[in-house]
Amino acid sequence: MSLVVSYIPLVVLALLALGFAPLAWWMSRFLRPKKPTAWKQMTYECGSEPIGEANVQFRFQYYSFGIIFLIFDQIATFFLIWAVAFGAFSNSAILWGLVFMMLLFVGVAYALKREETIWI
């Protein structure tokens, strides 16, 4: 049994799962009414008329966390691979892994301590 053959059920499942939402939505067109009006097509803002565009430059306040996250997500993925090979490691390999981890977390702790001044 080849690797390609074992993936066939997954491919069929992916087609069904990804096609499920468009298909269900498409099927509902035979049942639902269609009476569009200008009021219905207006952007909803709790009853008041919308002022201006919503696609503006948005100031999201967790900027500093975003930068730390960007680096750390990759490091966490690296540690997943480190963990799966853990059983074959020598003591020094474990030690160096932990030292690397500790260095990174000291960095995060420092960044979070300074976070009040980076918070914009």
């Binding site: 997954l10 952007t43 709790c46 696609n55 996250f69 963990a83 799966v84 003591n91 474990i94």
Partner: protein
Amino acid sequence: MGYDSILNWVTFDNPVNNAFYPFEVYNVPYDIGAKLWELIGGTLAWLINLLVPGNGVSTWLVSDAVVNALAIILMVIVIFAVGFIINLTMIWQERKVLGRGMDRRGTKIGPLGYFQCVGDGLKTFMKENVVPKDVDKKIYWWALALVIGTGVLAACMIPLSDRWFIMDFHAGILTIYALFALAPFFILGASWAQNNKYSMMAGFRAAELMISYEIPMLLLMTAVILQTGSFNINGIVNAQSEMWFMIPQFLGFITFFICAVAESERAPFDLAEAESELVEGWQTEYAGMKWGLIMLGDYFRGYICCGLIVLLYMGGWLLPGIGGTAVPELVFLAKIFVVFFFFILARLAIPRVRIDQILNAGWKVLMPLSLINLLLVVLMQTGGLI
């Protein structure tokens, strides 16, 4: 083949004997699919053979290749249908428990109110399709289809037992988690495309929520994988046949539970929905059937969260001391419903957190806790305790 009885066409062979059998071990959904096609295709072959004796189509319909192809399609439909029914049961469970918690009855239609969710689903089919004229059409539709699609796909990829699976990956848990973690990206896209101020705020909240819980969750998974040395779900479950990982890693279990509630975007971490602050959050401009599908997708994501907790910390389909039972699928589902009950209790009891609270909790509480858990596991593993 000359006709003498229908048993020429409906034989109920052992599916493992099929020349194109795509698995290495016995698989229940494939067996169900193969037997269903034996019935349907066998009856068709019999009827065609009655009309036109001695034709090739009848033999082709029940040949190994056709049976395998149709068995795979029917198997996928069976797996999806079972996931769908689990999902409906979870919605029913949530509405019943929430109702009792608020001192009311919950759902009432059908036996024990089970059919109310089905009725609600049918109702959304008949709702008008309202699309505001200012939306970015392409992203509006594609983000919706993908946020539901990836959720459904990851949910169907969770094996119910070692004989009920779609594929036995070597990187199973990673693949499921990767598909699962894609959702905030699509939510951000959907919220931007709606051109609605509330939706946009909600989309940025979804991204912010992901920034807070993702790294603790990955570190906790690291600790589990360190203990098993495998990404394979079967490997992780079999490593827990003696002792559930929630006993040596109790700290990790509690932290993972909190992260999982956040990942499924349920109260108290439903910042991106927040119906009392942001109307309906990123779902504001999705009306009718689209909203119904989003709700369904939410529960599929809740099911994945419960599934991950059960697989990583609660021994999957094995029972401690007993090991495998006659119906491991039911053991797995029972555990999932128990975990989901605690999800509902959290929703019932705890008010929604603020965005800065979840950020600080994620980075300054959950991450140190997950790190301590990882160090404890490293110490226990090198010390030979587990």
